[in-house]
């Protein structure tokens, strides 16, 4: 037991790298937040565009959503990070991570919102139109709020899974929690920084998981 503690919870190692890991937590948090905002925002816009029901909008949206859901994000990250410089376009690690994860979240969010919109009865649209609301007004005030509500539980779970993927940034030199802890582990020759990484992620995501559970119960009503 003592040996176990010595390996995974060495106090001096803990103290030495705590500031670095804390700083890295900020990076992870910040990245996660921008990805969530941009990804869900983009997904919402795409789902709305799809309601226009013209094929030249729908087709590219569906292909984008399918490809982004079918490809492992790490493949895209590697292509963007190592491939684009060959074209004279060099993107920083954080930027690549942001672009790829935002696109992936947008794809899932679009599908979730779209599923919500198609689950609405035709009567909801008709009630809006019959009272003189325009298509756009009906979309914004009647259809979307209901679609968003229906989608919230799956959306929260998806956003969580994707923000956790910021750990992939460690592969392309983003100084987030895993990268910083891994290099601390190499420097210190102790496994303690890896424990710190795990704790740091739990500190961020465990509350999010609990929130997700609560939301799931809260929004489990059906029309």
């Amino acid at each position: 037991m003592e040996r176990f503690l010595e390996v995974f919870f060495a106090p001096q190692v803990f103290a030495r790298y705590a500031p670095d890991v804390l700083y890295a937590m900020m990076t992870t948090l910040w990245l996660g937040l921008v990805i969530i905002l941009a990804g869900i925002g983009l997904g919402l816009v795409l789902a709305c565009l799809r309601t226009a029901q013209c094929w030249w909008l729908t087709l590219p949206i569906v292909i984008f959503a399918d490809v982004m859901r079918a490809l492992p994000p790490l493949v895209l990250i590697l292509i963007f990070y190592f491939g684009l410089p060959g074209l004279g376009l060099t993107l920083s690690g954080p930027l690549v991570l942001f672009i790829v994860l935002t696109a992936v979240l947008a794809a899932f969010a679009e599908e979730i919102f779209w599923a919500g919109l198609t689950a609405l009865t035709r009567g909801q649209w008709e009630a809006g139109r019959a009272t003189g609301l325009s298509f756009f007004q009906t979309l914004i005030h009647v259809a979307l709020p209901q679609a968003v509500r229906m989608g919230i539980p799956s959306l929260v779970n998806r956003a969580l899974a994707i923000t956790k993927m910021t750990a992939l940034g460690s592969v392309i030199g983003v100084k987030e929690i895993l990268a910083v802890s891994s290099s601390a582990q190499a420097m210190s020759g102790s496994a303690t920084p890896l424990t710190m990484a795990a704790l740091a992620y739990l500190a961020i995501f465990l509350p999010a998981v609990v929130l997700a559970r609560w939301l799931e119960r809260r929004f489990s009503w059906r029309v």
Partner: protein
């Protein structure tokens, strides 16, 4: 334009890299078989424990599931692969990857099953028990078949995530599809092998993704 074709869609390089990538694909499929197969079973037991009326069983299971949902799978993998040797537990890359992803995915599968189990009205239990079926019989013949049918799209969607997840094994140098593609890239200074790998993932997963979307639409109507 020709530059893009040369850097990303170079057919010569793709042809050269193809055998290597196929080896990688075999490793990816092996990994999938282990993680999906055991995950589907492990997840079911976790879900049964998580919905058990016995508190001492339910709470630790829920805690384990939430822990796994909160930890990024890559962190778990690195912890097992690079951390455990410090405690004298050494294992080959394949085992480390399989253990890490299995832990992670059993939890996700468990969540899916749990939703399915809870979607069943309690009348199903009562009806089965009232006709003299034992508790395990009720589970096997009445509850689990219905629960699984109710969440089939989510099970499929989670399985897609597992296949995508195996690409993380490249980080610990397990020679699966993405690792081989990235190797080929660094040797040839050309991204075409990565694009080819992406294409292989697409061939594998696009039909599944379509199927999930189809499922969801059918359920909503």
């Amino acid at each position: 334009m020709s530059n893009i074709a040369d850097m990303f869609f170079n057919l010569d390089i793709m042809r050269q890299a193809l055998p290597l990538l196929m080896q990688g694909l075999v490793m990816t499929l092996k990994l999938c078989a282990v993680v999906i197969g055991l995950g589907l079973i492990g997840g079911l037991f976790l879900a049964l424990a998580a919905t058990s009326p016995r508190r001492w069983l339910r709470w630790p299971t829920m805690a384990l599931i939430d822990l796994m949902r909160a930890l990024p799978p890559l962190v778990l993998l690195i912890f097992i692969y690079s951390g455990m040797p410090f405690a004298g537990v050494q294992m080959p890359a394949f085992t480390a990857v399989a253990v890490a992803f299995l832990l992670n995915n059993s939890a996700y599968y468990a969540e899916v099953y749990r939703a399915g189990l809870q979607s069943l009205p309690s009348g199903q239990w009562e009806a089965a028990r009232a006709t003299g079926l034992s508790m395990p019989q009720t589970l096997v013949h009445v509850i689990i078949p219905q629960a699984v049918r109710n969440v089939l799209p989510d099970l499929l969607s989670n399985t897609i995530e597992v296949v995508k997840l195996t690409s993380l094994a490249s980080v610990v140098s397990l020679a699966e599809l993405l690792y081989q593609a990235n190797m080929a890239r660094s040797v040839t200074y050309n991204s075409s092998p990565l694009v080819l790998a992406a294409a292989i993932y697409l061939v594998l997963l696009w039909p599944c993704v379509r199927l999930v979307s189809r499922f969801q639409r059918k359920l909503s109507i």
